[in-house]
């Protein structure tokens, strides 16, 4: 084993606690020089928290971090960079209006008699790009190059400072295949120079293409560190999702015979968008719950947004009872009777400053149009009914929603759609960040809704949950529909196998 060498960066027993959440607990991590090391895990696994602890964005609450065997306590990312730990984020953090040379040399320009010597500064910039084998005109504005080139320039800036460790946080998310190739070539060149590279991504094929070792986190804890070559993909997915293949399916077998086809039919036909989602065809009928499974980045959220018109599809149509629905904006989708509870409810769902009543009234008001306000008495009645029906824990209907717990916020969003009497409801990660009690409530609500004849599309990364409530499961992989499972085939085993192919 080559593991005799001392790691360039090591973390031992690292813990980070936020009020009420243990974001990281007792995590060990070691990065060798000349190694590309994948850091994997689903949302909320603790990947970003670990990186933020290493780069000094967060102070750690437990454990130690060592660089070349020396304990470090960086106070902010700039300090970590001086120590030799550079980070390149998914979003390029450079200035698009400045030239490439200036982006590389900002605050590092060579000066003579207090004035910048452009000749020397540009020579330095060329030198920095040479390391990456990047041959571009350094005097053109950074923004006139593709995101991939910008990403490479960011890496060049990061490694120009004698970096020992390079952290790449989802650098490939917005790149196309050729651009990824360029990036990988660069990563290999840097690896050969002895840099340790931490590569965060959710594209598993890329992990297998480029990394030497993999560390998997789940729920803030370390699952393990593995040699990439010795870890079959299916095992990796199991580690990430935390399910054992032997686990027995808990598919709902409650009496639902003969209740199919009660409500409206929704046909999604070849719905897709370039670079976002390959065309997907999927049919739903009222009274049916279709689960959407797949890893992060597989296109779950994207499909939900396309169907709801939050993103504009460039191919395909959605039919409601054989009539095509115009989906150029969420407004049109709402008029057609569609609803979406988004994944990030804080950002896209609730209006935190408004009260429970006002939040509930939003979708119905949107459907009626602003010229026909809902009488106050009616709003009060809706709100009170919903607070009682869904068990929303709030002292009164005017309390700002931002002050409620996550589970209750989610219920408010559900209530918003329920009062507008939708025919088709899309729930994206309806149980994320919700405590156990509310979790059960929401699952029960989903089932009740379905029994009332609503068609439901529920995206979730919790396989257990999907198996528990779905009549059919659509599995997405690499931005396309991989397979559809129904009836007795819906087991966690089958879903995991479909994800791993």
């Amino acid at each position: 084993m080559a593991d005799m060498a001392q790691p360039v960066l090591s973390a031992r027993g690292v813990g980070k606690f936020f009020p009420g959440v243990k974001a990281l607990q007792d995590v060990d991590f070691a990065l060798m020089a000349g190694e590309i090391h994948a850091l994997l895990g689903e949302n909320g696994a603790g990947k970003s928290t670990l990186i933020k602890v290493i780069t000094g964005v967060h102070a750690r609450d437990a454990g130690s971090v060592q660089l070349d065997g020396v304990e470090i306590h960086p106070g902010h990312p700039g300090e970590a960079q001086h120590l030799g730990i550079s980070t390149v984020f998914q979003e390029v953090n450079l200035v698009p209006t400045l030239s490439v040379a200036e982006n590389l040399m900002l605050e590092r320009q060579t000066r003579k008699f207090g004035l910048i010597s452009w000749k020397k500064t540009e020579a330095d910039a060329r030198e920095a790009l040479k390391i990456l084998g990047l041959d571009i005109d350094i005097n053109r504005a950074l923004g006139s190059y593709s995101v991939a080139i910008q990403q490479l320039v960011a890496i060049a800036r990061a490694v120009a400072l004698d970096a020992r460790v390079l952290i790449l946080d989802e650098p490939t998310a917005s790149l196309d295949a050729d651009e990824i190739k360029t990036l990988f070539r660069t990563m290999r060149a840097l690896k050969d120079k002895g840099l340790g590279i931490i590569f965060v991504t959710h594209f598993l094929d890329q992990v297998y293409e480029i990394t030497d070792r993999i560390t998997v986190l789940r729920n803030g804890r370390l699952v393990g560190t593995f040699e990439t070559a010795n870890l079959p993909q299916i095992d990796l997915i199991n580690h990430m999702l935390g399910r054992e293949l032997a686990e027995i399916s808990a598919h709902r077998h409650h009496a639902r015979d003969g209740v199919v086809d009660r409500g409206n039919h929704i046909r999604i036909k070849n719905l897709g968008k370039k670079r976002v989602l390959n065309p997907v065809t999927l049919n739903l009928s009222g009274g049916e719950i279709v689960g959407l499974a797949g890893l992060l980045g597989s296109g779950r959220t994207e499909l939900a947004e396309l169907v709801f018109g939050a993103q504009r599809a460039d191919s395909g149509l959605v039919f409601l009872d054989d009539k095509p629905v115009m989906l150029r904006s969420p407004r049109q989708a709402i008029r057609a009777g569609f609803g979406l509870c988004p994944e990030d409810r804080k950002q896209d769902g609730i209006v935190p400053e408004l009260g429970v009543r006002e939040n509930i009234a939003l979708a119905l008001q949107g459907r009626r149009g602003w010229l026909r306000p809902i009488p106050r008495a009616e709003q009060d009645k809706f709100a009170d009914d919903m607070i009682a029906a869904l068990g929303i824990a709030t002292p009164d209907r005017e309390k700002p929603v931002g002050q409620l717990s996550g589970g209750n916020q989610q219920k408010v969003i559900l209530a918003r759609w329920l009062v507008s009497k939708p025919v088709f409801l899309i729930l994206d990660e309806p149980t994320r960040g919700i405590d156990v009690g509310a979790h059960a409530d929401i699952i029960k609500l989903i089932r009740d809704l379905c029994d009332e004849g609503l068609a439901l599309l529920v995206a979730s990364s919790e396989l257990e949950e999907i198996v528990a409530f779905a009549d059919r499961v659509a599995v997405l992989r690499d931005r396309e529909l991989a397979t559809e499972l129904s009836g007795a085939d819906i087991t966690q085993n089958n879903i995991i196998e479909a994800i791993a192919r």
């Binding site: 990312p77 700039g78 390029v92 953090n93 450079l94 200035v95 698009p96 209006t97 400045l98 030239s99 200036e102 982006n103 900002l106 605050e107 320009q109 000066r111 207090g114 004035l115 910048i116 452009w118 005097n139 053109r140 504005a141 923004g143 006139s144 190059y145 593709s146 995101v147 910008q150």
Partner: protein, 324 residues
């Protein structure tokens, strides 16, 4: 291939050359250096103000207080020179220090409390204009030998024209503005902040300090413009230079600086100011047109330049500023 960052500057130069060329073609007297010398003198205070404004706009901000600053400095100078008998040069130093301090104060509030520069400098504009009337209600002459010497100073140009002291101060101000903008870290940091403030912060640029310095610089330049204006007119009037802040912004934008910040050239601002002066001169030469036509032409030019800038930045990928 020409770098796309120079397109707005080239457009400015083209417009300037076209207008000047038209003037020479249409009126024989236009080619005389007399016209050039007058252009430089008459627009000196505007261009000096606009150089300071260029830095503010490059940083992504705006400074509405500059017109009031010009008037206030004039009134202050008149009071110091005529009222207290202080030598004009000492009064100049006092005025510049005041401009720097007032600008830095506005910058401090903008940077520390993260408030829109529009509203803070609007407050500054009202405050300074009001202060003018506190000192003096009427138009007063500034009489001193030095002031007459300043007004009488001229370097002859070939032909019938000459370079006045105002024009020389303006040219020096433009030169130093170019050096500040392109050859100091401060200048480059201003561009970076205007291009993408969040990234600038992550790149290790002292954002707050730079913003304070930007408004301080604008304060100094507008105070200097006030000095030049006072010497040039040899008088002070509390209602002087009303709306000059808007002329300065127009000169900066016609000079090719992106109104959202991050791109532009101090040299462009100089030509932007000259363009505005040429339009005025052309209308004066014509004789039959109302002087308000100046505003109409400048308005049209502004429309054109803003659309041009939008087209250039739209071709950028990953532009967050102004992205829809």
């Amino acid at each position: 291939m020409i770098n796309e960052r120079y397109y707005p500057l080239l457009a400015t130069l083209a417009v300037c050359a076209l207008l000047y060329g038209y003037g020479i073609f249409e009126y024989r007297a236009f080619s005389d250096t007399y016209v050039l010398g007058n252009l430089l003198t008459d627009n000196a205070f505007l261009i000096i103000t606009a150089v300071g404004m260029t830095f503010v706009i490059l940083s992504g901000g705006i400074d509405l207080s500059v017109g009031s600053m010009i008037a206030f400095v004039g009134v202050l100078m008149a009071e110091l020179v005529t009222g207290f008998g202080i030598h004009p040069l000492v009064a100049v130093v006092i005025s510049l220090v005041f401009g720097a301090a007032f600008g830095a104060f506005m910058g401090l509030i903008i940077a520390k409390f993260d408030i829109q520069p529009f509203i803070i400098t609007l407050a500054g504009m009202f405050f300074l204009r009001g202060m003018c009337f506190l000192i003096n209600l009427d138009s007063v002459p500034i009489t001193h030998d030095f002031v007459s010497a300043f007004g009488g100073f001229r370097i002859p140009l070939p032909g019938r024209g000459w370079l006045s002291a105002s024009a020389i101060v303006m040219l020096v101000a433009v030169m130093s503005g170019i050096v500040f903008a392109h050859y100091t870290r401060f200048g480059r940091n201003v561009y970076a902040i205007g291009g993408d403030r969040q990234s600038a912060q992550l790149l290790g640029i002292p954002v707050e300090r730079t913003i304070i310095q930007v408004y301080m610089l604008s304060g100094i330049f507008s105070a200097l413009a006030g000095v030049v204006f006072a010497f040039y007119t040899a008088s002070a009037y509390p209602l002087a230079a009303v709306g000059v802040e808007l002329d300065a912004i127009a000169a900066v934008v016609i000079g090719g600086t992106l109104l959202t910040g991050g791109m532009g050239f101090v040299a462009g601002t100089f030509f932007g100011g000259i363009i505005m002066g040429v339009i005025q001169t052309l209308i004066a030469f014509d004789g039959s047109l109302n002087s308000w036509w100046t505003k109409i032409v400048i308005g049209g030019l502004l429309f054109g330049f803003i659309v041009l800038q939008r087209l250039i930045t739209r071709s950028f990928s990953g532009m967050r500023a102004g992205a829809t």
